[in-house]
């Protein structure tokens, strides 16, 4: 079994039961992923003149945006505080230089994304106990399955031959795995960062806290002088 799916099936329901805030954050993250996917598809509409493809993309944007809203509404319906909307890093999937190549790369990325999400949602739909949550995963999963087939078809049209389409898809999987690897390394990197910041905190606190506390208590006149100096430095930098 896919280890990710094992985690979703066996650990996620327990974590969500014990920490409702984690469930809420996860739902908001799904919402952001779906909305972001919709936005990427929306940008892709600007890369093609093919009206049928633009029509397909339009419908796909509607569906992804709707999924984003379903997840957000679900998070809101059970939250104690305003759910925080995630802002995902802007992946520059679409570079303005070579639209024809980029639309193939883009579609292959969308296609593998749909495949991965479809598989994840199926597992979530089986794993979570709450009927409302399960229902949304099921609905979204069914749509994603259709999207996977649709994007496969569009990719074949764009690439011309099945071999070329498979090659694009392979590249897209590699890009996805690389992104996941970088993301994992980023998380691993937080451990030494935390240790480093812990040491800095203790040292800074010991050395600098009295000065910083004085800085916080500076009166309006001193702050005004600082703003004037800041503005003067800024003006000199421009000369």
């Amino acid at each position: 079994m896919n280890p990710r799916h094992w985690v979703i099936r066996h650990l996620t329901p327990r974590v969500w039961r014990l920490w409702p805030a984690r469930r809420q954050a996860a739902l908001m993250e799904f919402s952001a992923i779906e909305r972001d996917s919709g936005q990427q598809l929306r940008q892709c509409m600007d890369l093609t003149q093919d009206p049928a493809l633009r029509g397909y993309l339009f419908q796909h944007v509607l569906e992804e945006t709707f999924h984003g809203e379903l997840f957000e509404d679900l998070a809101r319906s059970t939250a104690d505080k305003h759910p925080i909307r995630h802002v995902l890093p802007r992946e520059e999937l679409i570079a303005p230089d070579s639209p024809s190549d980029d639309i193939r790369a883009f579609f292959s990325t969308v296609h593998v994304g749909e495949a991965a999400v479809n598989a994840d949602f199926r597992v979530y739909a089986q794993a979570v106990a709450d009927p409302a949550t399960r229902g949304i995963f099921r609905v979204a999963g069914e749509d994603e399955a259709r999207h996977e087939a649709d994007t496969d078809r569009v990719l074949l049209q764009l690439c011309g031959t099945p071999a070329s389409a498979r090659s694009e898809a392979r590249l897209a999987w590699r890009r996805r795995w690389w992104t996941l690897y970088v993301d994992a390394m980023h998380r691993v990197g937080l451990v030494p960062l935390t240790l480093l910041l812990g040491g800095t905190y203790l040292l800074l606190g010991w050395l600098a806290v009295p000065a910083l506390r004085r800085r916080l208590r500076l009166g309006a006149d001193a702050q005004l002088t600082l703003l004037q100096d800041q503005l003067d430095d800024f003006s000199s930098e421009l000369q």
């Binding site: 945006t65 505080k81 802007r90 005004l224």
Partner: protein, 605 residues
């Protein structure tokens, strides 16, 4: 000289381009990314800036960033370390944010644009606001007041501004240092009242009209205003370290009661009696909103008096997030502290990009800046022919499945479109639709700068039809019934419907809450707040000719040269950018028709 202005990393990231003193383009990233209040580096807006200006990034003389990140970091670290050794969580978050993004703004911008880092300069945050307010105003000299949450170490500032030898002289004469912030005070109570910070402040302002300011005494202890007009936030009521869901302390909750849950419904309506009798808690929240609003207005007014006293100027330019509070702006104008008050179309952080660019342009010795701007500085609505071809390939029969707005199933032949080349014809079809109580999306030309729809990306309805306004709230915008809509009207209609002495600039862009005459109460009934005020846009024919002609046609059709005008968006989404975004909103909501450039699209029901 070509200067790109950028604001980012807090909320409402934006980009603006100033070429030889003219503001060529200005837009928020959210219009492109479709993430409301998007804080990320505005690369899409930057690309649109360069495209509009027809220049490459290497032609830029400077890239101006709206604040000084290292100085801002020093404040964040000082705040988090103030409670050492019990504040590691806050310190960790501040330091991580700085290490992963805040400290590398110069490098990130230089890399993204392909310019040398030496071209990227940091403008002080409040100086950016001040430059934005003064350098876009029609005044030769003015006091400039900036009030927001916090920028670097400053929360409010007063500048003495004048033009000397073709260049601006912008000298700071007073600041209110962190944490003594009117903006943080207002935002903290916005959060306490169950609304989202940096988004729900307009809800706090709207709710205030339903309450009595009975908590003013306690709130004046929290935000004290001295005889010199300075404001001070007392210790022990708020906690702005950022590691709590609600930035208030137990002491505040003991004094004012428990905060409102964000999902708890509020019963009030602008257009009539409450949906059900308000509970004691509902009334407490409305009274608190009224008190917060009153104290905020008092602080703004006192600081304006201080500005007048320190500068001796008779005109005021005003910017910063608090300048979006149109009720406070109205009180400021009514108080007569200054002969006139100018607020730019986007006075909040989004406008910081334009302010930073104008400041750099001025300080680097560029040509004199513009003396007046118009708000239509964004991207256009896109090519109508491409949209028309797209319409042949939509599948309206599937739209209802992916709408949260109770959209009925449409058959393919129920969505019709036509191309209207004659602007008079466009105006005629829209007026006819509005007269049939339809809600029409209006997407014309370059979009507006700032958070308010000013007749480029607007949802329109008849201004005297309460039922249409209710449908707009429930089936299109999903918006609380206690929040009022705004009218756009001609100057002639404004004289008839509004209690207004002349037409100040602040009334041109929905920045005042103006009392309405008896006649106006009937004519503008769907745009009134419960306190009998409305937030008008008085449209000038030279600024928005097509929109103005629509208002004149409205006068011929139903006797009032006015329309209800609200932003073209759905709840939680930014205003639409281009024509495709407008079509997506049309497909997802109960909107009856949309005019995108010359393309007229309708649902035939």
């Amino acid at each position: 000289m070509k200067v790109l202005g950028v604001s980012a990393n807090y909320h409402d990231a934006s980009a603006a381009l100033v070429v030889d003193g003219q503001v060529v383009f200005s837009a928020a990233e959210e219009r492109f990314s479709r993430v409301k209040h998007d804080p990320t580096l505005p690369l899409a807006a930057v690309r649109a800036c360069l495209a509009q200006g027809g220049i490459a990034a290497d032609e830029l003389s400077f890239v101006a960033y709206h604040e000084d990140p290292p100085t801002k970091l020093s404040r964040a670290l000082a705040t988090s370390l103030a409670r050492w050794p019990l504040s590691f969580g806050t310190f960790w978050r501040s330091a991580k944010e700085a290490i992963t993004s805040g400290l590398w703004v110069k490098a990130d911008l230089a890399q993204a644009l392909g310019v040398p880092p030496s071209k990227v300069v940091y403008a002080p945050h409040h100086a950016s606001h001040a430059a934005h307010a003064f350098l876009t105003s029609p005044f030769d000299d003015a006091a400039v007041m900036t009030i927001d949450a916090v920028g670097e170490w400053t929360c409010s500032a007063i500048f003495d501004a004048s033009h000397v030898d073709g260049r601006a002289r912008l000298a700071p004469v007073d600041v209110s240092p962190f944490p003594h912030s009117v903006g943080l005070f207002y935002s903290a109570f916005t959060s306490y009242l169950g609304f989202a910070v940096n988004d729900g402040e307009c809800s706090t302002m709207a709710l205030a009209a339903f309450g009595e300011p009975r908590f003013v005494g306690t709130l004046r202890e929290i935000l004290a205003i001295d005889a010199d007009g300075r404001h001070t936030l007392a210790d022990g009521w708020f906690d702005f370290r950022g590691d709590k869901d609600l930035p208030v302390t137990d002491r505040l909750i003991e004094a004012l009661g428990p905060p409102r849950h964000f999902r708890a419904a509020l019963p009030w309506r602008c257009d009539g009696p409450p949906a059900q009798p308000p509970s004691d808690d509902d009334q407490r929240f409305a009274d608190l909103a009224a008190s917060v609003q009153r104290v905020c207005e008092d602080a703004v007014l006192a600081y304006a008096r201080r500005a007048r006293q320190l500068t001796g100027r008779s005109r005021l330019c005003y910017a910063g997030g608090v300048a979006l509070n149109c009720v406070a702006n109205q009180r400021l104008l009514d108080a007569g502290v200054f002969d006139t008050v100018y607020v730019p179309p986007d006075p909040g952080d989004g406008g910081g990009a334009m302010g930073a660019a104008l400041l750099v342009h001025d300080r680097a010795g560029g040509s004199p800046p513009p003396r007046r701007i118009h708000p239509f500085l964004g991207a256009g609505q896109g090519d109508a022919d491409e949209l028309q071809v797209l319409l042949d390939h939509l599948e309206p029969e599937r739209w209802h499945r992916f709408s949260r707005h109770g959209l009925a199933r449409l058959e393919p032949d129920q969505v019709t479109f036509e191309l209207l080349d004659d602007p008079a014809e466009r105006v005629a079809v829209v007026i006819a639709a509005l007269d049939q109580d339809h809600v029409v999306g209006w997407c014309q030309g370059r979009f507006e700068n700032g958070p308010r729809a000013l007749g480029a990306r607007s949802l329109l309805a008849r201004p005297d039809r309460l039922a249409v306004a209710e449908r707009l709230s429930t089936r299109i915008k999903r918006r609380a019934a206690f929040r009022p809509y705004a009218p756009s009207l001609t100057e002639a209609e404004a004289r008839r419907c509004l209690v207004l002495d002349g037409v100040p600039d602040t009334a041109r862009w929905m920045q005042l809450a103006v009392p309405v005459t008896d006649e106006g109460r009937t004519r503008l009934s769907a745009t009134l707040h419960v306190d009998g005020t409305t937030r008008p846009q008085i449209v000038r024919p030279d600024e928005a000719p097509l929109f103005h002609s629509l208002l004149v046609a409205a006068g011929l059709a139903w006797g009032t040269e006015a329309v209800l005008n609200t932003s073209f968006n759905e709840s939680g989404s930014p205003m639409v950018g281009g024509g495709v975004d407008a079509l997506l909103a049309f497909a997802r909501t109960d909107l009856d028709a949309v005019l995108i450039g010359p393309l007229w699209v309708r649902k035939q029901r």
